[in-house]
Amino acid sequence: MQTSWVPFVPPSASTLSGKVDALYFYLSGVTIFFTLLISGILIFFVIKYRRRNPYEIPRPVAGSLKLETLWSVIPFIIAMTMFAWGAQIFFEQSRPPSNAVEVYVIGKQWMWKIQHSTGQREINELHVPVGRKIKLVMGTEDVIHDFFIPAFRIKADVVPGRYTTLWFEATKAGRYHLFCAEYCGMNHSGMIGSIVAMEPKDFDDWLSGSSSQQSPAVAGQQIYETLGCVSCHGPKGEGGRGPALAGLFGKQVFLTNGQSVKADEGYIRESILNPQAKLVAGFGNIMPTFQGQVSEDQLIQILAFIKSPQMQGPEPSTAASPVPAAFVAPTAAATPAPRR
C-alpha cells in the first residue's frame, strides 16, 4: 500500500510499512471519532444545560447499569480489535524468514558499523537490494542504541551482551533515514545515516564496485587460527579437547547440568566470553575466557565463520550427543564416527 501521497507519514518503503500504516489509520480514525464525539457532546451539554437561575438545583439523575455496561463493553471490544491487529503484525514480523540475507550491525558511540556477509563494510549507511529479505544481526560495543528506519516502520534496541535481530524487505529504491532511537550520550542526535535501497542490478553493481574486502567469515577463520581455537576445536572445527563446531550452528546442545540449549548467535558469543556459563556435556571446564581479547567486530566475524557453509559439516556434529568427540581417528573423515 503506497502511502507516500498521504501527508504526515514517512515514505512507505518496505513490505511492512503499509500494514503498520493501515493499523495507524484505523487507530487515528477511532481516536478522532471519539475525540469529536466526546468534545461535541460536552459542548452541546454545556450550552444546552447552562445555568439559567442562580438557585436552580437539577433533579439528580440516577445512574444506568445499561449505559455503564454499554460503554465498558464496546470500548473493550474496540480495544481488543486494536490489540489483535497489532499483535498479529508484530508476531509475523518477529520471525525472520530462513532465506533472508544476513547483514551484521554493530552500534557504538556514535556510529553504526555495518558488515555485509560478502565483505563490504559501511559506516552509517546500509545498501540493500529491493525485493530481497534482509536480516540484521545486531550488537553494540558500549551502551544501548536503537536501529530505527522510519520508512520501513521498524526498530530494535541493540543491547550489550546479546544479539538482537531485525528483518525487512525493501519495496522501493531510495535513500531513507536511519536514526539511533535510544539515548546513548553526547552525540545521540548525530548517530544517524541512510538506508540506500537499490534495484537488484544497481545493488550488484555497487557490490562489485565497492572495494572488496575480506568477507567476515574469512576474517573469522583467521581469528580462529590466531587465537588458538584450533588447538581444542580442531582445524576444521571437528573437535578434540573441545566440542566440535562444524555443523554446530542452529543445533541443540546438551549441557553438563542436563539442560539443552539451541546453539544460536547468543550462545556462540557467550561461550567465547564466558565459557563456564554453559558447559557442553562430556567436556571439562578448560576453555579460557576471551573477554577483553576480542572486539564486537571480531566476535561477529567468528560468528560468521561458524555459520559459514564450510563449517556446516557433512553430518550432525557430536555436540548433539553426550559422547565426547575426542579420539576420532584421522580417517574418520571417510568413515562416520561410531554412534553410541
Binding site: 514517512p10 508484530f90 545521540h188
Partner: protein, 552 residues
Amino acid sequence: METFVPPVPSRINYINAQYGLKSWLLTKDHKRIALLYLGSISFFFFIGGLYAMAIRLELLTPQADLLQSTTYNKVFTQHGIIMVFFFLIPSIPATLGNFLVPMMIGAKDLAFPRINLLSWYIYMLGGIVTIYALLAGGVDTGWTFYTPFSTTFSNSYVVATGLGIFINGFSSILTGLNFIVTIHTMRAPGMTWFRLPLFIWAHYATSLIMILGTPVIAITILLLAFERLAHIGIFDPAVGGDPVLFQHLFWFYSHPAVYIMVLPGMGIISELIANFSRKNIFGYSFVAFSSLAIAVFGFLVWGHHLFVASQSVYAGMIFSFLSFAVAIPSAIKVFNWTATLYKGSISYDTPMLYALGFIGLFTIGGMTGLFLAALAVDVHLSDTYFVVAHFHYIMVGGTLLAYLGGLHFWWPKITGRMYPEGWGRFSALVVFIGFNLTFLPQFVLGYMGMPRRYHVYPAEFQVLHVLSTAGASILGVGLLIPLIYLMWSMRYGKVASGNPWHLPGLEWRTQSPPPTENFDYTPVVTWEAYEFAPPEEMEVVGKFRDEVAEKV
C-alpha cells in the same frame, strides 16, 4: 423557615492563629503543611518550566545553536526529573490532598500530623540534594537512567541525583500512608465509604500505589548507585549482569507512577464536574471503583516500555493486552463525567473550564496511549516524539489542568479570597490554546520518525518544531498569569464566605479560611455525596444557626 444570613468571616483561622516562622516550620496543621508544599512545588515547577523553555528554544532550528549537545542532554534530563519527581507526583496529593482529605471526611487533621510535616522536610531535603547535583554539573542520562550508560559511561552526577530522588520517595510513601490510615479511621459519623467525595476515592487509590510502588524505585536507585560506584555487575553483562533488568525494575515503579500523577487529577475533575453542574456524578460507584481498578492494573503493564528492548515476543503480547485493558476504567470515567452534565445546571467558572479542558485533552492523551499499546505500531513510534506528545497530553493536558482547576476551585477555602474570575477564564483559554499548539504537532513529528532526545534534526522537521515552540511560549504566558493574579488575590482579592459556591461538600460547611481544627464541632453526615440543597441548608453542619452563632 429561617432567613438566610450570610456568615461573618471569623477573625481566627489557621493562617492567623499563630504568627512567626517557627509556627509554620514546626506546624502540625495539615493545612499549613499543604501551603508549605504549595510554595516548594511551585518553585520546582518553575525550574522545570525554565528547562522546558530551553528545550523548545533550541529546537526552533535544526542545528545546535543555543546549547551544546552535552548541555542539551542535561537540560532534557533535568526537565524530566524535576517535573516528574518534584512536581507531578507530589503536586495534587501534597497540596490539595493534604489540605482537603481531612476536611472532606470531617476530621480535624490527618492521622499522623507529625509524619505529615516530616514528609515535607524529606521532600525539601530530596529537593536540596537534587538541586545541589544540578548546580554541581547536572545529570545527562535521561530521567530514565538506562544502564549501562548511567552506570558506566555517563560522566555526570548520577549518584547525587539518584540520592535526591531516593530521599524524595519517602515523602511519597509517608503521604500515602497517612491518607490510607486517615480515610479508614477518621471519617466523621455518618460518612460511609459511598458518601465519600470521589476526590477521596482517587487519593485512596493513589496512596495504595505510592506505598506499594515507591519502594521499588528506591531499591532500583540503590542498585544503580552500587553498580556505578562498586561495579558489582547487576546490570553489566561483562560481569554477568543484565542491562535490561534495569529497565524492568525502573518501569515496574515508573508506570504505576504515571497513575500516581493522574488519579488525583481525576479526583479533582469529579469534584469540579459534579459541583459545577450541581449534580451527583453519574455512575458514582463506577467512577469510585475505576480508580481502584486503575491502581491495580497499573502494576501489570510495565513491559509496554520494553517492546523493542529485546523483551520476548510473548511477554510483549501479554503486556499489550493488559495495556489495552487498563485504558477501559479511564474511558468509563470520561463517559460518566460527560453523562453528569446531562440535565445539569452548568456554570462557566474557571474551575469548570479547566475540567472541560481536561476531559477533551485526557481523551486524546488516553487514546494515543492505545497507539503505543498496539505492538506493531509501537515498534515504529517507540522513542519518537509521538510518545512525548502522548505523555504531555496526560500530564499537562490532564494533571496540570486538573491541578489548576482545583487550585482555583478551593482557592477561596484555602485563602479566604476569591481570584479574579475574568483573568481566570482568560488564562484557562490561553493555556488550552498554547498547550494544543505545543503538542499536537509532536504527534505528527513522531510518526514522521523524529526521535526523542535529539537536539539536532533533519531540516524537514523544522516547521512542526517551530509550531511547537510557538505554542510553548503561549502556554508559558498562560501559566504565568495565574501566578500573578493568585498572589495578588491573597492580599487584594474579594473576601470569600465559608461557602462561596454554595456546595454540599463538608469542606464548604466551615468558614474560609478554616479554623485550625477545621470545624467548630464534629460534623454528622446525613446526606449522600453531592446532594445539593438550597444554600441556607448547606451553610451549617448539623446545628441550628443560632446555636452556632452563640458558639462563634
